[in-house]
Structure formats: structure tokens, C-alpha cells
């Protein structure tokens, strides 16, 4: 059995989750507390991956990334990067595809904090930025952990989008879910089973760890 697809899957999930965490923090804060018009539009766009078939997202990303269209051509000209059938392309697609899984739990976590925490920090002379990093974020750790792991797991489980824009290049875009599909197509059920079992076991352990940690964090807080 070739372990490369497994390794690639977790590399993709780790990079995607790390970049998304950084991107999602300001977006979640903005959605939670920002005063602006058109919030509904932004929310709808972020939420699209939750309801759209992955093949639809994959299809449009394929068009967007393709050098035959202006965005893909522009990226290739400016950055010298071809996004279609490449690992960077997979990362960008995964970021878009998993965006709601990172943004929504963090936003919910921020909104669940009493408003008085923010207000108290302001009355103590602290700026919005200081308040965000020193008061708000440390007090919604469970939400951030949940968001990170959901994003990670969602990226591991990606199939449609990856297949559409990444294809099946070993070591570059052939992730575990695609490898399983290929092995089944080739009637190699034994290998498919091995891939599937490894994915199953690892994701289960990760989820188990997260929920145990979260329960402990929450229990500490409730014991007040």
C-alpha cells in the first residue's frame, strides 16, 4: 500500500486549517460584532459550501483556476502559479470549501461571551484589538478548538472538490479519499479498505481527543 495519499491528506488538512484559522478570526469578529450593512450577503457567501454540492464548487473553481480564463491566467502571470491540478490550488479550494466550518463556531463562541466582558475591557482603557486578543479569544478556546478540528476533519473528508480541480496526480493531488475511490474502481477492495480504516481511525481519535478536552474545559468553567 502506498502511504503517500494519507500523508498528503493530512498535510493538506493541516495547512488549510492553519491558514483558515488566521483568516477566520477577523471575519468571525466582524460578523459577531461589526456594525455594517450587507451582513446577510457575506453570511450567505460564507455559508454556501454547507449546502452546495462539492461538484458545483469544484466546477466553478476549475473554471476560475484554469489558465484559459482571466483569473487563472492572471495568477499564472503574476505569481507564476498554476492552481489547477496542483497542491496550492487544492489548498485554496479547501480554504473556500471549509470556510464556514472555521468561521461559524468561532463567531458563535465570541457571541456567547457576555457583552460585559468587552465593555469592562473598554472601560479599563483597552483597545478593541487588545480586548480581542487578551479577553475574547482566550475565553472562547473551546469554540476555536472545535472550529479547528471541524475544519481539519472536513478537509480530510473532501472528495468532490479535490477530484474536480486536483485530479489524481500521485504525491501532488491524490489524497486518501480519491485513492479509495480509485482502488474501488479497480476492484482492489483490500487496499481501499486499508485507506478507509486508517482515515476512519485517525479522524475518530482526533474527534475523541477534542471532545474530551472541550468537556474538561467546559467542566472547569461550570464548576464555579
Amino acid at each position: 500500500m502506498d502511504y503517500q495519499p494519507i500523508w498528503l491528506t493530512f498535510r493538506l488538512a493541516t495547512i488549510t486549517s492553519a491558514i483558515l484559522l488566521v483568516l477566520a478570526l477577523p471575519v468571525a469578529y466582524w460578523l459577531a460584532f461589526g456594525k455594517f450593512k450587507g451582513r446577510g450577503v457575506v453570511e450567505a457567501v460564507i455559508g454556501l459550501p454547507l449546502v452546495l454540492p462539492p461538484s458545483v464548487i469544484g466546477f466553478y473553481l476549475l473554471l476560475a483556476f484554469s489558465p484559459s480564463y482571466w483569473f487563472g491566467a492572471w495568477i499564472e502571470k503574476v505569481l507564476g502559479l498554476r492552481l489547477v491540478f496542483s497542491f496550492p490550488g487544492l489548498v485554496i479550494a479547501s480554504i473556500l470549501y471549509s470556510l464556514p466550518f472555521m468561521v461559524y463556531p468561532i463567531r458563535a463562541g465570541l457571541q456567547s461571551l457576555p457583552a460585559s466582558l468587552r465593555e469592562a475591557s473598554y472601560t479599563l482603557g483597552k483597545t478593541e484589538m487588545q480586548t480581542f486578543f487578551k479577553v475574547l479569544l482566550p475565553n472562547c478556546k473551546p469554540a476555536i478548538l472545535t472550529a479547528f478540528v471541524l475544519t481539519f476533519a472536513h478537509t480530510v473528508g473532501e472528495f468532490g472538490v479535490v477530484l474536480m480541480i486536483g485530479g489524481n496526480i500521485p504525491g501532488v493531488t491524490k489524497v486518501a479519499s480519491v485513492a479509495i475511490y480509485n482502488e474501488v474502481e479497480a476492484l482492489n477492495y483490500g487496499v481501499a479498505n486499508q485507506y478507509a480504516l486508517i482515515l476512519f481511525a485517525i479522524t475518530f481519535v482526533i474527534l475523541l481527543l477534542v471532545y474530551s478536552i472541550n468537556n474538561r474545559l467546559l467542566r472547569v468553567r461550570q464548576s464555579a
Partner: protein
């Protein structure tokens, strides 16, 4: 009043459960005065407090202190809460759960601020031994002491307290009132405290304002406001418990427990059945009879 330290005039529209309510409030406080703000819930007390703090923006208004204008909507001046020299004590304490007691206080210290104030405040509040604890390991009274200490770290000229003692028992309430008076002597801040307790108003405040439907129809020293006969009686209640009583020729004197203190209450004859020992009662302060005699 040109010599007053704090001048407040605010016009706003309140959106309450009962509908839209025009809010119009103006008053002045002398330097280092303690004002109690009372009235029914929904009258706009917390809104007013947050507008003074800069946490809410009124439609129109002026807030001027001795040295600066915090709010002047005509001239488009509105300092953010960070730049108003205030301390705010929240009803739910609003302690930061991720920080210990000492860290909560240190957080309030401006960059390069003198750390001795933190030690002083921890000592004065009796919290030195608890300084390493997180807020969720403290009792309600202890948390409230931390909140009070934290609000004083920056030595504010104005301390705002939003029903600070509503969740603590009468004993603790009494101790916390003492603490406020002690700190007031020490730091000489001006204070506005939202409270529903008549005894608290008499104990702490130089001035009391009764808020009603977004207005402040009554404002003045507590004795003057509360003994005003024209007062609508629904506003002013005092609760207590009868301990014992003696009957004289023309009235009944009862010893009663009111807010943890024994007070003498004068009652008219013919109320014997109602004043059995242990019986709880509510008296309206605005009525001449039954009347309350304040004993020190």
C-alpha cells in the same frame, strides 16, 4: 452650577418592552459626590450609566467633567470609553475568566503604571490570599470585591456601579457598602450607583435620582426626596421583619429588622394582628402613617 464637577444632559429614544420612550435626563454632581440612581426596571438606568461610560451613544447630549468634555454631540465630540476617566462595576462582575484575581487587576493597569496600587487594592479588599485564584473559584462577594478593586486600578474620577450588590446576601452587601465608603474616602471619586435598596441609598448617597420612564423627575438629597409627601407612593418601599412591639396609649412601637439593622417603627393602633413577631412587612416611606423613625 458652575462649580460642579460633572454635568450631564442627555436626550435619547429608548426602545423598551413597553414601546418607544423618549429619554431626557439632566443633572449635575459636585466633585466626590455619591449619587444613587433608582427606579423601576426598564426606566433607563443602565442605559444612562452606559451612555455616561461611552458604551452607548445617545442621540443628543453633553457630558462635561471638571477638565474635559466627554460628550458634546453639537460639536461632534464623543470620547470612547477608553478615554473617559471612569471605573465601571458591572452587575454580573464581568471578571475575565482566563485571568487570576491579580491578573484581572494588572490588566487594568496602564502601560508603565505603578504596580503598588494593585498591592494596595488587594490588601484593602482582603484579597491578597486569593490573588492567584481564577474568578470561578471565588464566591459572589469575593468576585464583587475583585470587580470593585479592578475598577479602581486606574484611579477613575467617576465610578459607575450598576446594581453591584444585587446578587449578594445582606451581610456581604453591608461589607461591600463599607468598602465603597472606605475607597471613596481614599480616592475621592465621584460615583453613580444604580440600586433598588432604600437603605443603601441612605447609607451611601449624597444625592438620589429616581428615574421614571426615561426622565429624572426627582433628584436631591435622599432625606429630601424620600420624605417629600407629594411623592407617588408606589416608588418607595422598605421591607423588614417584626421582632417585637410595645403598645402605648396612642401608637405602637415595633422593633423591626430592616436590612440587617434593628430599627424602631411607629405604627398606628389597630394594626396589632398584622405585627406579630416574625411577620414580614413592607412600608411605604412616603406615607406619614405608618411612619418610620430612623435610628442611627
Amino acid at each position: 452650577m458652575s462649580d460642579s464637577q460633572l454635568n450631564i444632559a442627555i436626550r435619547h429614544t429608548l426602545h423598551t418592552a413597553q414601546g418607544i420612550l423618549p429619554m431626557e435626563v439632566s443633572f449635575s454632581l459636585e466633585k466626590a459626590a455619591i449619587m444613587a440612581l433608582t427606579g423601576h426596571s426598564g426606566a433607563g438606568k443602565t442605559t444612562l450609566l452606559k451612555q455616561i461610560a461611552g458604551l452607548l451613544m445617545p442621540e443628543e447630549g453633553n457630558i462635561k467633567t471638571e477638565n474635559s468634555a466627554w460628550l458634546d454631540t453639537q460639536n461632534q465630540i464623543s470620547l470612547p470609553p477608553q478615554q473617559r476617566n471612569i471605573g465601571f462595576v458591572f452587575q454580573d462582575y464581568a471578571l475575565f475568566p482566563n485571568m487570576t484575581v491579580a491578573e484581572n487587576l494588572t490588566f487594568a493597569l496602564p502601560k508603565g503604571g505603578d504596580r503598588t496600587i494593585i498591592k494596595e487594592l488587594l490588601e484593602a479588599t482582603g484579597l491578597e490570599n486569593l490573588s492567584g485564584r481564577k474568578p470561578d473559584q471565588l464566591s459572589g462577594g469575593q468576585q464583587q470585591r475583585v470587580a470593585l478593586a479592578r475598577a479602581l486600578v486606574r484611579k477613575p474620577e467617576l465610578l459607575l456601579l450598576d446594581e453591584p450588590f444585587s446578587a449578594v446576601d445582606p451581610d456581604m452587601r453591608y461589607q461591600l457598602q463599607e468598602l465603597i465608603l472606605k475607597f471613596h474616602k481614599l480616592f475621592q471619586f465621584t460615583a453613580i450607583i444604580v440600586t433598588h435598596e432604600t437603605s443603601e441609598i441612605f447609607r451611601l448617597a449624597d444625592q438620589v435620582g429616581i428615574m421614571e420612564n426615561g426622565k429624572l423627575p426627582q433628584f436631591g438629597p435622599p432625606a429630601q426626596v424620600y420624605l417629600n409627601i407629594n411623592q407617588p407612593e408606589k416608588d418607595l418601599y422598605i421591607h423588614g421583619e417584626i421582632i417585637n412591639y410595645t403598645k402605648t396609649a396612642d401608637c405602637i412601637f415595633a422593633n423591626a429588622l430592616i436590612d440587617n439593622k434593628i430599627r424602631l417603627v411607629k405604627l398606628p393602633l389597630g394594626m396589632e394582628e398584622n405585627i406579630l413577631a416574625g411577620k414580614k412587612f413592607t412600608l411605604s416611606l412616603s406615607l406619614r402613617s405608618p411612619e418610620i423613625l430612623w435610628l442611627s
